[in-house]
């Protein structure tokens, strides 16, 4: 059984001693990390540090070779598949914006809504007022109300990023994993995104992976730097960015 009898930890997300290797390459090496409920955490680190692999592990795409991954203190995520983990309330935004390009913005959000996701439920689905109100609200939040009937594939890169964040909102998970949300955005868009994430953080636990240090600074939250699949440093942005090792492997002198 994947549910512990008693709550082991108060953390929303608890990783301990996680290892993953691909054909001898250690992608994740004794990674330990905790995320408290309501917290927002920024993850930084050089390419190949294992940021995306860590998200793959949390969302069930990759199975770790060893280690503990607990969600909400009770659920062992390493034994569940993506669908089950999503149902538990972990949402994910991908590095490359992944929206359903051949469907409208509105339908993208409709698909993301956390309602009955069973075959029978969708086959006999009929829209409700509550659902369309929620969609309207999300559209407003991500500023895509005017584009609601456009195909998602026709959106600009920044709009796609927002649509994907909007899908996370519609999904309304307990924990949001956000991979590089501002890649390819203008400065204004980056700023707005930071505001949006802070707004989201008022009601959700969030983990953000990002390279853009200005953006991370703007979020103003605790930062974890990964290197070679393990935690290199953790603390405020100033503490981490003044850490010798971090400067050496990531920021550069």
């Amino acid at each position: 059984m994947n549910v512990m009898d008693t709550r082991v930890t108060s953390a929303m997300l608890y990783l301990d001693g996680v290892h993953v290797s691909f054909d001898g390459f250690h992608a994740i090496n004794n990674l330990s990390l905790t995320l408290e409920p309501g917290e927002m955490r920024a993850i930084i680190g050089p390419n190949g540090a294992g940021k995306t692999t860590m998200m793959d592990i949390i969302t069930g795409k990759t199975r770790p070779d060893e280690g503990t991954v607990l969600f909400d203190g009770v659920t062992d995520l390493t034994r569940l598949d993506e669908t089950r983990i999503a149902e538990l309330g972990i949402g994910r935004k991908f590095q490359k914006p992944t929206v359903f390009e051949s469907q409208t913005v509105q339908d993208n959000l409709l698909l993301a809504l956390n309602v009955d996701h069973s075959v029978r439920g969708t086959l006999f689905w009929r829209g409700s007022k509550a659902e369309s109100e929620r969609i309207d609200k999300v559209l407003e939040t991500i500023r895509l109300t005017d584009a609601r009937n456009r195909l998602a594939g026709s959106l600009s890169h920044g709009q796609k990023q927002w649509l994907e964040i909007g899908m996370l909102l519609a999904q309304d998970p307990k924990l949001l994993l956000v991979d590089e949300p501002v890649a390819g955005m203008t400065d204004v868009e980056t700023h707005l995104t930071a505001e949006l994430l802070k707004e989201i953080n008022k009601t959700h636990t969030v983990m953000v992976v990002e390279h853009d240090m200005t953006f991370v600074r703007e979020l103003g939250v605790k930062v974890t730097c990964l290197h070679e699949g393990a935690v290199l440093a953790e603390g405020t942005i100033d503490q981490v960015s003044s850490n010798e090792r971090v400067i050496e492997v990531y920021l550069g002198r």
């Binding site: 795409k61 999503a86 994910r92 359903f100 390009e101 051949s102 069973s118 075959v119 006999f124 195909l151």
Partner: protein
């Protein structure tokens, strides 16, 4: 399903299509039966049978479009479901022959007497009853699709891997049905049918009725596909087609969706096969040949996948062309044409006839600024096949 679901969002194209099929289903049999033979407007019986065959192919094409066009599952073994449905019907028709066979055995079909079999194999029991055979027409292809899909989709076999193993599946069935001891007539298959539900299968009236039934089945299949793809489930299928792993991360159990639509599609293919057999008068293992299944896929590609109407249209157009060219002096060139069709459609007309027409209509509508927001049409633009 509620009537609401069956009629939901029937756009004009679909309505025209249904009207034409219904008109053909009524007028062609009437013209064949009521008008004097040789009259200008009379449709000769051989044409009724031929067109009935096309209609069956159109149902098969719909079933392929449902999984390929909307869910990205390219099955290269759908001919197997078609053939299994056909065999189920063929077994019923064999049992109906009774003592009129060459050997006059009341129970055993001729080929079993010929092979010196003493009693009917267990899996032939019950096929003397039409209702049982009709049930098996749905059940056998459905069960195979369910088992196959359950294994394949759960372990996430996708894309070309899935296509290749579906091809292996139909190939294995081809080899099996060629064997005499498998109990389905070996390479001769099942033939020499006499009657169906008491009517002579050769009679004009029966043929006309079978044609009308095929049209009815096409209309029903279309409405079922239509209601599936226009429900929220249809949107999920497209989501799976375009970004499978994204759908998983949203909490959709992708394998269940695929399994549902694959099994539904196999049952439809089975019905198509069952209607095909009495009209053609024979079912043999060559229906399992991998080439047949691939050919059926090209009908869908020609008509336009993910459009339903296009799939049915493609099946009829390509098969009409096949009949036209293979019966004349151009016969040796038919394979060249079919091959070229595969290549040209994939290279130059990736959306197919209907898809291209829809895109053109949409583009010209968008030039009229007011109607721009209507782009939400049921339509599916440019299916993206890559994972």
């Amino acid at each position: 399903m509620t009537p609401h679901m069956l009629t939901r969002s029937l756009d004009r194209g679909a309505a025209i299509f249904l009207a034409i099929v219904a008109a053909c289903g009524i007028l062609i049999p009437l013209s064949n039966l009521l008008l004097p033979a040789g009259s200008f407007l009379q449709v000769p019986t051989y044409l009724v049978a031929l067109w009935g065959k096309y209609v069956c192919y159109a149902i098969l094409a719909l079933s392929i479009d449902l999984i390929w066009g909307y869910c990205g599952i390219l099955s290269l073994g759908h001919g197997a479901f078609f053939a299994l449905g056909g065999y189920a019907m063929g077994m019923y028709l064999m049992r109906q022959i009774g003592t009129r066979g060459v050997y006059g055995n009341p129970i055993l079909p001729d080929f079993m007497v010929f092979l010196n079999w003493q009693k009917l194999p267990w899996y032939w029991h019950g096929f003397d009853m039409f209702w049982f055979a009709a049930l098996m027409v749905l059940f056998v292809p459905g069960l195979l699709a369910f088992c196959f899909g359950w294994l394949a989709f759960r372990s996430r076999v996708t894309g070309v891997y899935l296509s290749i193993i579906t091809q292996a599946m139909t190939y294995a069935l081809l080899l099996a049905f060629f064997r005499n001891d498998f109990g389905f007539g070996g390479n001769n298959g099942l033939t020499d049918f006499k009657d169906i539900l008491g009517f002579n299968v050769q009679a004009e009236g029966t043929r006309a009725a079978l044609f009308a039934l095929s049209c009815l089945a096409l209309i029903f299949s279309f409405l079922i596909c239509r209601s599936v793809v226009s429900s929220k489930l249809g949107k999920v299928l497209i989501a799976i087609r375009d970004a499978e792993s994204r759908s998983r991360f949203l909490g959709y159990r992708v394998e269940s969706y695929k399994l549902f639509v694959f099994t539904l599609s196999a049952c439809m293919a089975g019905v198509a096969g069952a209607l095909y057999v009495p009209q053609v008068g024979i079912i043999n293992p060559s229906e399992f040949a991998p080439g047949n299944s691939i050919e059926a896929v090209i009908w869908v590609a020609v008509g336009g996948r993910g459009t339903l109407v296009g799939a049915a249209l493609g099946a009829i157009v390509v098969n009409y062309a096949k009949t036209f060219f293979t019966s004349g002096v151009l016969a040796p060139y038919w394979l060249f044409m079919l091959g070229a069709l595969f290549i040209l459609v994939t290279l130059l007309l990736p959306k197919g006839i209907v898809g291209t027409f829809n895109a053109w209509r949409e583009a010209s509508r968008e030039r009229r600024p007011a109607a721009a927001s209507a782009a939400a049409e049921d339509g599916v633009t440019e299916p993206k096949m890559a994972e």
